[in-house]
């Protein structure tokens, strides 16, 4: 009796003391381990039932009904190795994995659960003991050959666990890591990853590793490792847990109200479960998991806190031009997960003898490592977001070769399915992210990478995933001697990427037009020179005529320089690799400023011409205009070679000949405004995306803008050539500089 009361005192003292000892976590009250019938396992010596044990306080039925379905499936399959791969094959083919036994609370809530013992129990056909096996090695359960025994020393005389054994906790990264990926929290041990270990699933499928350690400190044989002074995962580095984002959806600390169901005037809704209610009925639906392969049971959409939930895009990217445009076209991961370093599967071959896996990043499939591994750059694919928009996001593609439908006695055909695997982790920042515009805005763009799928397989057919998956197979399969590849073509999903995308016929048309103009000029000039040699127009009397006011000259030359600048920078924007006199980013900025100046200049001159009445010089006189035009054309086509005089004399009020008038009318009233409008709409895809989209989107606007640019270039050349048709080749240009033009004196003036 005395002993018992002493023990009770000691237990009480321990219970009081332990909270201080085991930091703030030791709050869980003591409990008994119960079996399926609700009997204390110490008495019945039967297997522990997590549902009954935890159900003493928590609503087990509620938890079972509110669990991410995949969790129950994934965690309880006694699958290891090949079985799991076959399941991957099935998942690739859209089949749902089979479901199995109920969840096991201890696996995620005990500080150090024994997952290996649990899997062994499942594999050994002792599924009902798998929960008990999870407690192996904790001091509560001892395994002797095939049987599990409860260790009395872990229990109080009342049959409850001693307080330090009863400490349940929030899942930490290593719990999630049992199934989801390689998790590494130790600072004193380098990260080591064995290719071929498919246990950590996300690491196997994508190369994602959850570790705060710098990659340079890891044990991987990575090329250039010493420069990789970045953490494997910045969020792990910054001490975020898996559950920071993948929280229980009714956890009052994280719960997010669905904005669609909120009154618009509320920014925050304080109505939520209190902690008592939550602990009674904690939802085990975890936020996230929206982008796993469709068709699998995992594509549950839950309100996860996404990148934008914590990060302010605009404040984080002060340097980035066209923020809204980038934001609406790209996921954060596209730039912030530029490279994965752990070996990820590229090909799973289940059709040969045995299973053969090819990894990305130069990891050889054999046991011997011959060279440094490099990791791989994810493939960027368009993804249909929940709001219906398309954004580019990083993926790994896994090609699984299997035998097709079995027909007994016949050779089974070999076929492969390609499945995209989304990449959301291993985010980095600073110098390691994609910051160089030309990574995407160039002919060789990250967005149109060619991605290895599989080594060749004779007679094998390969099939891309269906569009319904939410990830568009925007690209094409490429069969090469070395194997199968996938080349991304974001253009097929409607993405037009400046500097990368191009409409070939527009460029051909523009180029041909320009060449025709050049050829015409060459012929004309040749004929002129020949004619000139024959008939020396000598000693003709001239006089000086004041043609251009200072403002007209200023406006002209400003416009000339601006247009030349716009064409030059436009070339760089169109093909930054070929016209690399400045970077893409600088070209865009300069182009925009020059365009604004052009617009400004055009308005000023319009005002000037109206106010001064000089607008009249541009207006064709209706009477006999066509005849005059023909006369002028006739002069250029024949008279000029014969040394005839210009059909129309220049004067202060008649500076322009009829052809000029009609040309300038077209240029200034059609070409220039169109160019300005299309330019504004291209830039406006940032501010008014809806308007730009309605008017054809970038896919129409940009090629149209460049076609007009070709016309401008052609005009420019023709215009410069025709200035040489004055009294002397340079007299017209001189006039535009000085204002005074030398013109021949007509006989009647003498």
């Amino acid at each position: 009796m005395r002993l018992e009361s002493f023990l009770r005192m000691a237990a009480l003292a321990l219970a009081l003391l332990l909270p201080a000892v085991v930091s703030g976590q030791a709050m869980h009250p003591v409990f008994s381990l119960l079996d399926e019938q609700g009997g204390n396992v110490l008495v019945t010596a039967r297997a522990v039932s997590a549902a009954k044990t935890c159900g003493q306080c928590h609503d087990s039925d509620y938890i079972a009904a509110h669990a991410t379905t995949g969790h129950a499936d994934q965690m309880n399959l006694a699958t290891h190795g090949i079985e799991r791969l076959e399941r991957a094959g099935r998942m690739n083919q859209g089949g749902a994995p089979s479901s199995a036994a109920a969840m096991n609370c201890f696996l995620c809530h005990l500080a150090s659960p024994n997952n290996e013992a649990r899997l062994a129990a499942l594999a050994g056909g002792q599924a009902e003991w798998s929960t008990t096996a999870t407690l192996e090695g904790s001091g509560m359960v001892l395994r002797v050959s095939d049987r599990w025994h409860y260790q009395r020393s872990a229990f109080s005389p009342q049959g409850t666990l001693l307080p330090h054994h009863a400490q349940m906790r929030d899942p930490e990264n290593h719990h999630c890591g049992f199934c989801h990926g390689h998790v590494h929290t130790r600072h004193d041990e380098p990260v080591l990853i064995a290719a071929g270990d498919i246990g950590p699933w996300s690491t196997f499928t994508t190369g994602q590793v959850i570790a705060p350690q710098k990659i340079s400190e890891s044990g991987l044989n990575l090329a250039g490792k010493e420069r990789l002074v970045r953490a494997w995962d910045v969020h792990a580095e910054r001490l975020l847990d898996c559950v920071s984002c993948h929280f229980s959806v009714n956890n009052p600390a994280h719960q997010q109200a669905d904005p669609a169901r909120q009154p618009g005037h509320l920014a925050y809704s304080p109505r939520r479960l209190d902690i008592r209610q939550y602990l009674h009925q904690p939802s085990h639906i975890l936020a996230g998991s929206a982008t796993l392969p469709a068709g699998s049971a995992l594509s549950v959409q839950t309100p996860m806190r996404r990148c934008e939930g914590c990060h302010d895009f605009d404040k984080a990217h002060p340097w980035l031009p066209f923020k809204a445009r980038h934001r609406s076209s790209l996921t954060c991961e596209t730039c912030h997960i530029p490279q994965l370093y752990a070996p990820a599967a590229a090909t799973i071959d289940l059709a040969g003898t045995g299973t053969h896996i090819v990894y990305r990043g130069g990891t050889p499939s054999g046991d011997v490592i011959h060279e440094l591994v490099s990791g791989y750059r994810p493939l960027i694919l368009p993804r249909r977001e929940t709001d219906g928009s398309l954004r580019l996001a990083p993926y790994n593609l896994i090609t699984t070769w299997t035998h097709g439908s079995t027909e007994t006695g016949k050779a089974r055909p070999v076929s492969a399915e390609v499945q995209p695997w989304a990449i959301h982790h291993n985010v980095t920042h600073g110098a390691f992210v994609v910051r160089d515009c030309q990574t995407c805005h160039d002919r060789h763009s990250m967005l149109s990478a060619t991605f290895f799928l599989s080594t060749p397989r004779s007679g094998g057919t390969i099939e891309l995933w269906p569009e319904s998956a939410g990830v568009l197979p925007a690209g094409e399969l490429v069969h090469q001697a070395e194997g199968f590849y996938f080349t991304a073509k974001p253009g097929t999903a409607g993405f037009y990427i400046l500097g990368h995308s191009s409409v070939p016929w527009v460029q051909w048309l523009g180029g041909v037009l320009l060449l025709l103009v050049l050829a015409g000029i060459a012929l004309h000039a040749f004929l002129r020179i020949r004619a000139h040699r024959h008939a020396e127009a000598d000693g003709e009397e001239t006089r000086l005529l004041y043609l251009y006011e200072p403002y007209e000259r200023y406006w002209h030359w400003l416009q000339a320089l601006l247009i030349i600048g716009l064409i030059l920078t436009g070339l760089t924007i169109h093909a930054p690799g070929r016209f690399a006199w400045m970077s893409f980013a600088a070209a865009v900025r300069v182009h925009n400023v020059l365009a604004a100046l052009l617009l400004f200049n055009a308005f000023l001159s319009l005002f000037y011409h109206f106010a001064s009445g000089k607008i009249k010089t541009y207006l064709p006189e209706p009477e006999g205009f066509f005849n005059q035009m023909f006369a002028q054309a006739g002069y250029y086509l024949s008279g000029i070679f014969k040394g005839e005089a210009h059909p129309f004399e220049k004067s202060q009020h008649k500076k322009l000949n009829p052809l000029q008038k009609i040309t300038y009318l077209v240029i200034l009233n059609i070409l220039l405004p169109l160019q300005i409008i299309t330019g504004l709409l291209i830039a406006g895809a940032q501010e008014w995306p809806a308007i730009s989209r309605q008017l054809g989107g970038l896919g129409f606007l940009v090629p149209f803008h460049s076609l007009l640019a070709w016309l401008f270039a052609a005009f420019l050349i023709l215009h410069i050539y025709l200035t040489t048709t004055g009294h002397t080749p340079l007299s017209s240009i001189k006039a535009m500089i000085t204002g005074w033009e030398k013109v021949p004196v007509h006989p009647e003036e003498k």
């Binding site: 703030g24 929290t185 130790r186 600072h187 705060p212 710098k214 340079s216 010493e226 002074v229 953490a231 580095e237 910054r238 001490l239 340097w319 920042h429 600073g430 000086l544 200072p550 000259r553 200023y554 030359w557 400003l558 320089l561 601006l562 600048g565 600088a586 900025r589 300069v590 400023v593 020059l594 604004a596 100046l597 500089i737 000085t738 204002g739 005074w740």
Partner: protein, 478 residues
């Protein structure tokens, strides 16, 4: 017609109309922030003294006399500095009625304890010649040792009382003089406490030719000591944490580096509470172990001897390599144990506790090496004793603590009851050298979370990890 000048003006107008808006509207790259190299002195090449000095020199003082012929002010300069005086100017200290002068001359530490009555081997590192006992003439400029800092012949070695060893070629040493090298400084400062790497932890012989893994300044950027410890009139900047009582000579990282230079705002927010060395000196004694524990009470026994474990004359030691620092709040000043201060023999006496706590706005969390020792004290009067170890009657010869305490006390003038014991003492060493390259600086998980737990948040005065509990709240009026 237009004149040429007008044409040029027109051209300028047109070009300017484009260039000006471009210049105004395009983003400008931020002007490069201050370059840390601007603060690194460019040293003039020294004068070749080979032809200027002919000797012969039979003593160090003769060399000094020769130096003073051309550098008449040099000795006077040195004689004002602590390299010569081994003590400070009188300072007012908190809770002490009288101004205090403190220096190697009269301080007590928990290595060889004190120099009084033990002068000759200790004063081998004095920048002078002949400090054998209390009667050394501190006013004689001819006793200044110029060579200890300026010798570049590599064979100048000082023995007892700072007298050059017999083997030294004084003429060669004198002819070699130049700017101080790592060897000049390291000869004493890397060997504090009686041998290489004993005392500091962040200063040892590995810094003679360090790789960048040991010290980024000296390894990657080839710094010498005087690049940071810059000198005016022979007064070398820098202060001893154990002895200095003001901030006048403090060298700061921010003398060269901007405080908020990290590209990560989150890290920049740390500088209000965390000193640079905390993250940038993750470990000290990187290559050579340093002494972290010294138990004098076990000295005098006839046990197997080993420099790194047990010596009969000194007792038992513990050394540690790649030492992980301990962290304390520190406002760059420290308390000082002075001879005669009462102690609590049942507890640990801290000889130089860093000042500052979580409420002190000037204090930041800084890394320390803490040297823990057991040393002799007066069991009746309850203060530390400074024993005589050196010499024919010293402990190292006679192994008699009572006699050693008696002789030492005669030198210090502090009464000795005849009753002695051993008491735990701690001594703090600031860590400012062995700065790691930036790639090796601490990461978040080094201090936050359950991973490495370098900082004991509760001990530092936080309610818990400030990552989750919030950072310290300082009263704005402070």
């Amino acid at each position: 017609m237009l004149r040429k000048k007008t044409l040029w003006m027109g051209l300028a107008l047109v070009v300017g109309s484009i260039a000006l808006p471009l210049w105004l509207l395009l983003p400008h790259r931020a002007a490069p922030s201050s370059d840390p190299w601007d603060s690194v002195p460019v040293k003039k090449p020294g004068t070749d003294h080979t032809r200027l000095l002919n000797g012969p020199f039979t003593s160090g003082s003769e060399v000094t006399v020769a130096c003073l012929k051309c550098h008449p002010q040099a000795a006077r300069d040195i004689m004002r500095t602590s390299h010569w005086t081994w003590e400070s100017k009188p300072f007012r200290m908190a809770n002490r009625p009288e101004p205090v002068t403190l220096g190697k001359k009269n301080a007590i530490n928990n290595f060889c304890i004190g120099i009084q009555s033990n002068w000759p081997p200790c004063t081998a590192c004095h920048a002078g010649y002949g400090w054998h006992d209390a009667n050394f003439d501190f006013s004689n400029p001819e006793l200044v040792d110029c060579l200890v800092c300026h010798d570049r012949s590599g064979q100048y070695i000082k023995g007892d009382a700072g007298i050059p060893e017999k083997s030294v070629d004084l003429l060669a040493a004198a002819r070699s003089v130049g700017n101080p090298t790592r060897e000049n400084c390291g000869g004493c400062h890397f060997r504090g406490g009686g041998g290489n790497a004993v005392k500091h932890g962040d200063l040892d012989g590995s810094l003679y030719y360090p790789s960048e893994e040991i010290d980024v300044h000296m390894g990657r950027h080839k710094f010498v000591c005087t690049d940071c410890h810059q000198t005016t009139a022979h007064d070398i900047k820098g202060r001893s944490f154990c002895l200095s009582q003001d901030m006048a000579e403090q060298i700061r990282c921010t003398d060269c580096h901007q405080e908020t230079l990290h590209k990560d705002e989150r890290i920049n927010k740390h500088v209000n509470s965390v000193g640079c060395p905390t993250c940038h000196i993750p470990n000290v004694a990187v290559k050579q172990a340093t002494k972290v524990h010294w138990d004098w009470s076990q000295a005098g026994q006839d046990l197997p001897e080993d420099d790194h474990d047990y010596l009969k004359i000194k007792g038992r030691f513990v050394w540690e390599k790649n030492l992980v620092p301990e962290y304390r709040w520190y406002n760059c000043l420290s308390e000082h144990y002075l001879l005669g201060d009462k102690i609590d023999p049942s507890g640990v006496t801290e000889l130089n506790r860093p000042r500052g706590d979580i409420r002190d706005p000037k204090a930041r969390i800084m890394p320390f090496k803490i040297h823990r020792a057991k040393q002799i004290y007066d069991a009746t009067y309850h203060y530390l004793l400074q024993p005589n170890t050196v010499g024919p009657e010293g402990f190292w010869t006679k192994f008699d603590w009572d006699r050693a305490a008696r002789i030492g006390s005669e030198a210090t003038g502090l009464p000795y009851s005849g009753n002695y014991g051993f008491v735990r003492t701690d001594m703090y060493w600031t860590l400012t050298h062995m700065v790691a390259k930036k790639e090796k600086a601490l990461q978040c998980t080094s201090c936050h979370g359950d991973h490495e737990k370098r900082l004991d948040w509760i001990q530092l005065g936080y309610a818990g990890d400030p990552m989750t509990h919030g950072s310290r709240k300082l009263n704005a009026s402070n």
